[in-house]
Amino acid sequence: AQTVTQSQPEMSVQEAETVTLSCTYDTSENNYYLFWYKQPPSRQMILVIRQEAYKQQNATENRFSVNFQKAAKSFSLKISDSQLGDTAMYFCAFIQPFMDSNYQLIWGAGTKLIIKP
């Protein structure tokens, strides 16, 4: 069974600092997609960044970047120049297409990130 593990329940950093959220996953397949979602206090689920497993290059979106280590099954999220608006729950999620009809996102437990002024 596929699983996603986020080992940091909560993290706190000062504004403008860089923070890295960790995520590991387990799968025996070679083709899959990884995502980081942000859930602010409003509880809206917002896609931050995604990574296709077949791409070696790490995805980046402005201040957000990932460190994708396929062999280690690791997918960490780096937030540079953190801002107060980055305060939220961050969920790592995984989808593995082409397995029957398995279209569901599999989620980690989340990391609560607090950016302090």
């Binding site: 997609y33 995502f35 979602y37 409003s42 509880r43 809206q44 689920m45 917002i46 896609l47 995604r50 296709e52 969920f91 999620a93 989808i95 297409p97 009809s101 398995n102 279209y103 569901q104 996102l105 599999i106 989620w107 980690g108 437990a109 989340g110």
Partner: protein, 114 residues
Amino acid sequence: EPEVTQTPSHQVTQMGQEVILRCVPISNHLYFYWYRQILGQKVEFLVSFYNNEISEKSEIFDDQFSVERPDGSNFTLKIRSTKLEDSAMYFCASSGLGVYNEQFFGPGTRLTVL
């Protein structure tokens, strides 16, 4: 920019009552999903829907749950006889062709069962 919408934003109901949660997916999307998130816990998959039928469902999605796409635009989740443990945030999502496409989430419906 197109978005997924959900109504109501908050639903309060008595245990044993039926509730219908409504979602309007993005218009050209073909795959539809319901997830739930009990307060303080991880997001859990409930069901996926494609071509007017359920393509996958989780163990949570028992006989008390059903989904429907009644009119080609709405996508509903019905809970026939709510239990206290059904209290959660329910998210609808939709995606386009190719299951690896991004799933766009609605703002969620907070269901409170008293």
